[in-house]
């Protein structure tokens, strides 16, 4: 049986750090970044929930498999699970990368670019996003729909009857 998001092993987190860092900045993480990513999971908000949605489990499991799938899952997550576990993990990693030696340079605009190139980048990114979103909706949409119709909604631990 696959492990739950709420009890992800050190190995799973190491794997996520590797794939997600390559997804975000096209480099492998340093040991420091990977360790910080693991430590950050002690306080990441979704772990305070009593359970997870099937769509969130699926998005993270798919994203772990490789850069292209991470991109697809994140595209879907941006629109339909904006504050879900996958986005939380990616934001955590972004925050770590921007604070880490050498990686912080990948996060800021230190090079000059022509205005035309900026507009072309914006256009390219926007179009790419729309295409990926269409594919992602076909892949992940049905799972979220079924989950929403059948499954219970996770609650914060403080909302537990005994909490």
């Amino acid at each position: 049986m696959a492990e739950s998001l709420l009890v992800a092993s050190a190995e799973s987190l190491r794997r996520e750090a590797e794939v997600f860092t390559r997804y975000l900045v096209a480099r492998s993480p340093s040991d420091y970044v990977a360790a910080k990513y693991r430590d950050g999971h002690r306080v990441i908000p979704y772990r305070r929930l009593t359970g997870t949605l099937p769509i969130d489990e699926l998005l993270v499991r798919v994203a772990r498999r490789g850069v292209a799938l991470a991109w697809l899952a994140d595209t879907y997550g941006r629109i339909f699970r904006h504050d879900g576990p996958l986005r939380q993990k990616l934001v955590l990693l972004t925050a770590i990368l921007e604070s880490s030696p050498s990686f912080h340079e990948n996060m800021t605009g230190s090079r000059s670019t022509s205005r035309v190139r900026v507009y072309l980048t914006l256009l390219g990114m926007g179009l790419g996003f729309v295409v990926r979103l269409a594919v992602a909706m076909l892949v992940f949409g049905p799972v979220q729909l079924v989950g929403a119709l059948t499954g219970p909604k996770p609650r914060a631990e403080s909302e537990r009857p005994d909490g």
Partner: protein
């Protein structure tokens, strides 16, 4: 000369103390007083810290990355960093409850202004229309405070709304973004002033453009938010350092002032405080007592004192806090330019929007996002994170945020009170803030529309849907619970800060403001505290 006991070492407390010492009084300051940790690597820039610190993630995000701004509907574009954690730490003994209101309370040496952004704007006569004195009464104290703290400023369009009183230092160096906004403003000024009632100028900041009274000038390290290692940005702890060198001053940290005792005629006889070291209660006496613990803590001390002495639970009505929104924008002309993070990180420009009623003037400050955290911004872009990051890198220099505040008024349904905590002899502070000034929602919509138009005139684009209205309490401009009134009124104080209920008790923090203009209040807090100390008979 009198012996004076001051509770609190914030902006009001230290300037009251300094003026009182200058007049020959003996001053004892009671304080919890969490100290500021020493900023690391004093000469390192923002980016150098990331390379040179042993554990930069712990410094920027906390040991478990606990200050990461995660996605949710209320996510801000920046947050207080771990290095400012000491400012908001609270003793276990102090409890608050206030659904819908986010109270920030400080027990640090220097108080809340240890984490401020240094904005110093005088109140004019319109702002002071409900105060029992006019601008002329405050002006000498604004001048005195400006001499003490050092203010960098330029005389420009903002001066017509915030009088330019004092010998200010030359303004700080602008970055390319702020420079461009001011250039565009100069070419469209008459249209912006006439049609939108919009004004732009340099920020007035308590940040040094040259060395001043033992503090060093800003060296543009880009570390403002994380704590200036050169003390270029004024914080009340700098004045506290100065107080330590003065004869007649005694500082007692480690004590949480709980309440005062008083006689039937209202004369205060002692302050009772809990030692945070051993949990024991201690009694402190003086001839005069001064509450400068910040609006919420001062209110709690007064409420607890009445409760302890009479068993009555009172309500202090009229709690105020400025409504605050953040409007991010892109300066189109700067797209694609490389970013320079070695710059003054806080706001460099101030904006004003005139309202039909003069006291409803809207105040704002523009921050350009060069040396701030990246992750709170890119998670809000309408793309996946990889694409957002690439777009962000090309737009980094062009990004800015307008922080805008609206005035607030005293209303009876916004109040603070106390509630006994079961099983203890303590109380908790209960904050009720439910109503907004009449017509505020429409006013916010109108101000946002005006600001968006003005930004467009300045060559900027403010995407709709990204503006954040911050929840009540998050401005940290609390005021109004024990106001100054011209005539004796219960639970209020005289124009000279003397309580009408307790004859030898003085109130000198934001609790005494009868109105809260949109402008940052800290400069006026300091000036008013110095004024009260000066005129105290």
């Amino acid at each position: 000369m009198a012996s004076i006991l001051i509770v609190g070492s914030g902006a009001s407390g230290v300037h009251f103390a300094l003026t009182a010492l200058n007049k020959g009084h003996e001053v004892t300051m009671l304080d919890v007083g969490y100290p500021q940790p020493m900023p690391p690597l004093a000469e390192a820039t923002f980016n150098e810290l990331k390379e040179r610190l042993d554990d930069p993630v712990a410094y920027f995000l906390g040991t478990s990355a606990e200050t990461v701004v995660y996605p949710n509907a209320d996510a801000k574009f920046y947050a207080f960093p771990p290095s400012k954690g000491y400012v908001f730490a609270a003793p276990e003994e102090f409890k608050t409850r206030g659904p819908g209101f986010e109270p920030f309370i400080s027990f640090a040496q220097g108080g809340l202004a240890e984490a401020w952004t240094g904005g110093v704007y005088t109140f004019n006569d319109d702002d002071l229309s409900e105060f029992p004195f006019e601008y002329a009464a405050l002006e000498p104290y604004y001048q005195e405070i400006s001499r003490r703290i050092g203010i960098s400023a330029a005389k420009d369009d903002i001066a017509q709304f915030s009088p330019f009183g004092g010998d200010y230092l030359e303004p700080l160096r602008l970055d390319a973004h702020a420079e461009r906004l001011l250039e565009r403003y100069a070419t469209r000024r008459s249209h912006l002033n006439r049609h939108l009632k919009f004004y732009l100028g340099r920020s007035r900041v308590a940040t040094l453009s040259r060395d001043h009274r033992g503090r060093e000038a800003c060296d543009y390290l880009g570390r403002c938010l994380w704590g200036c290692p050169r003390k270029s940005i004024y914080a009340p702890s700098a004045t506290l350092d100065e107080l330590h060198t003065r004869a007649g001053f005694r500082y007692l940290p480690g004590f949480l002032a709980e309440h005062f005792s008083y006689e039937s005629n209202g004369r205060v006889t002692a302050v009772e405080a809990t030692s945070l070291e051993d949990g024991q209660r201690h009694t402190f006496t003086a001839e005069r007592y001064v509450l400068a613990a910040g609006t919420l803590c001062t209110s709690k001390i007064v409420l607890d004192s009445i409760y302890r002495n009479t068993g009555r639970v009172e309500r202090l009505h009229g709690l105020m806090d400025n409504r605050h929104f953040m409007m991010p924008f892109v300066n189109i002309g700067l797209l694609g330019r490389p970013v320079d993070t070695s710059t003054y990180q806080f706001h460099q420009l101030a904006l004003g929007i005139q309202a039909e009623e003069a006291h409803a003037y809207v105040h704002g400050q523009i921050t350009t996002l060069k040396a701030s955290a990246v992750h709170p911004i890119i998670q809000n872009l309408p793309l996946d994170l990889r694409a957002s990051l690439q777009v962000f890198r090309k737009a980094h220099t062009a990004l800015g945020v307008a922080n805008v505040w609206l005035h607030d008024e005293r209303r009876s349904d916004n109040f603070v009170t106390i509630r006994p905590v079961e099983g203890t002899d303590r109380t908790e502070l209960v904050i009720t803030y439910t109503s907004e000034p009449p017509g505020e929602s429409q006013r916010v919509v109108g101000v946002q529309r005006t600001l968006r138009k003005a930004l467009r005139q300045l060559g900027c684009f403010a995407p709709s849907g990204m503006t954040r209205m911050l929840p009540p309490g998050s401005s940290i401009h609390y005021a109004g619970t024990l106001p100054m009134t011209p005539r004796p009124t219960p639970l209020a104080c005289s124009p000279s800060g003397q309580s009408y209920d307790f004859e030898n008790l003085y109130l000198v923090d934001g609790a005494v403001f009868p109105f809260l203009p949109a402008k940052n209040l800290t400069f006026t807090l300091m000036a008013n505290a110095a004024r009260v100390a000066d005129i105290m008979s």
